[in-house]
């Protein structure tokens, strides 16, 4: 069976189980909403200050919310030792990662799209005209977060202090994504918007490098 067909079967399983429980989507959406609401009181909406700081806040909220998502990503597979049954069933373990990366990216994107109207209202920043490029930035940024997060989740799920290990490993590795995504988003939401293609390119290259690393070394992350 090819990598893509195996991934498609596993992705169907990921989406089916999540949409049945809606645990991740609810948790991440509520978390991002709380952060946006809290900081909207600290920053005066519609001001230059809001335009300057809001993109960074948005990405910080996304990053912290995603860490909640990754906490359970592989831990769920340990409940009934389903990771072992998957490893027995698939010929290429990369399919397990690929399905989880795609599912996590979709969940993150869906949460972000749900949160964008609240972001626009709370910080009084019009988004409509910039939406296509903003979605592109959210996609490449979220993909990077998902690739690294899924890999770290596989490592931390087998560790004793997994709750501490995940953020400790995740945050430093994702600093480049956070910085560049915030800068690109800030330029896009400026009164004179500029699309920073170099930044988007950097995020795409980051995604490609880490996806390749996951393809090469992912099998070792699943070993007992």
């Amino acid at each position: 069976m090819s990598l893509l067909s195996t991934t498609a079967i596993l992705l169907d399983k990921e989406l089916r189980t999540e949409f049945r429980s809606r645990e991740l989507l609810t948790t991440t959406s509520v978390f991002i909403l709380i952060v946006l609401v809290m900081f909207s009181f600290a920053i005066n909406p519609g001001t230059e200050e809001a335009r300057e700081f809001a993109p960074g806040l948005l990405w910080l909220a996304i990053l912290f919310a995603s860490s909640l998502m990754f906490q359970t990503c592989f831990l769920r597979e340990q409940t009934n030792d389903t990771l072992s049954s998957l490893r027995l069933a698939v010929s290429d373990p990369f399919a397990i990662f690929l399905a989880k990366v795609i599912a996590n990216t979709l969940f993150l994107l869906l949460t972000e799209l749900l949160m964008l109207p609240f972001f626009a209202i709370f910080y009084n920043i019009p988004l409509w005209s910039k939406l296509p490029v903003l979605i592109l930035v959210l996609f490449v940024g979220s993909l990077g977060i998902s690739i690294v997060g899924t890999a770290i989740s596989a490592i931390s799920a087998q560790a004793r202090m997994r709750e501490l290990l995940l953020p400790l490993l995740l945050l430093p590795l994702l600093t480049p994504v956070l910085v560049v995504s915030s800068l690109v988003t800030a330029s896009l939401l400026d009164r004179e918007p500029v699309v920073q293609w170099k930044g988007i390119g950097f995020l795409a290259v980051f995604d490609l490098i880490f996806l390749t690393a996951l393809w090469l070394f992912g099998e070792y992350l699943l070993e007992e």
């Binding site: 195996t6 089916r16 009934n80 030792d81 389903t82 049954s85 027995l88």
Partner: protein, 234 residues
């Protein structure tokens, strides 16, 4: 329809050659060497922590040995996938229905007509009426039946059972013993870890005893076999 219909494939043996498995400084298995002939039904016995589960997980290829070699003489495994493995846990998804679980593992293992195969197994393990129920709503015994169905989905020629009677009531144990009898008759190689004598252990033709990760006894004689199952010396 019976489980035998599932296993019309050439039987395969199992060969452990100097298998070591170390977790840090702790040896879970130490220089384990023995061979299981195709169609044999072997009980692996031993006290808690003696290495039974690790041995079965190495045989299932879930755990890579630190040293040594595992091989499956006798048949082309590639066409029938890996051994069927029933562990302490169910190894199925609580958030999927019984049928969805079997379809998932059937599709992943390239089973021909996975829907028909899933239906056949659900009927065989007595879960046909609950095919659309989420596994998390199942009782322990039903979950164990589900685990057995999952292990058989790809028609394996080698079956590995880690304490298969766990959670089964007396009729469930009789059902399992009858199923294993059929599987054995079909020529399938069965390796199971058990505690004590039971209807299921009576099917075994050989017992291997582990202690601190090493094989300390290996017998085919009836009296010694019973002695091993009760942790006596062979």
């Amino acid at each position: 329809m019976s489980l035998v219909t599932a296993l019309r494939i050439p039987p395969t043996g199992l060969r452990f050659e100097n298998i070591d498995k170390r977790y840090g400084g702790l040896f879970a298995l130490r220089r384990v060497s023995f061979e299981i002939a195709p169609g044999e039904c072997v009980v692996v016995a031993g006290r808690n922590g003696s290495g039974k589960t690790t041995l079965l997980r190495v045989a299932a290829q879930i755990v890579k040995p630190t040293a040594g070699k595992l091989s499956f003489p006798g048949a082309a495994l590639a066409s029938h996938g890996r051994p069927g493995y029933v562990a302490h846990t169910t190894m199925v998804y609580d958030e999927l229905t019984a049928e969805e679980n079997l379809l998932l593992f059937g599709k992943l293992q390239n089973v021909e007509n996975p829907a028909a195969r899933a239906e056949e197994l659900l009927r065989e393990v007595g879960l046909m009426e609950r095919r659309d129920s989420l596994v998390r709503t199942f009782s322990r015994g039903m979950r164990q039946r589900m685990a057995i169905a999952r292990a058989l989905i790809h028609r394996p020629s080698v079956l590995l059972f880690d304490e298969p009677a766990t959670g089964l009531d007396p009729p469930g144990i009789t059902w399992l013993a009858n199923s294993l009898r059929e599987v054995k008759r079909a020529g399938c190689t069965v390796v199971m870890s058990l505690h004590g004598e039971s209807e299921i252990s009576a099917l075994a033709t050989r017992a291997v005893q582990l202690d601190a990760g090493s094989v300390v006894a290996d017998t085919q004689s009836g009296a010694s076999l019973r002695s091993i199952l009760t942790f006596g010396s062979a």
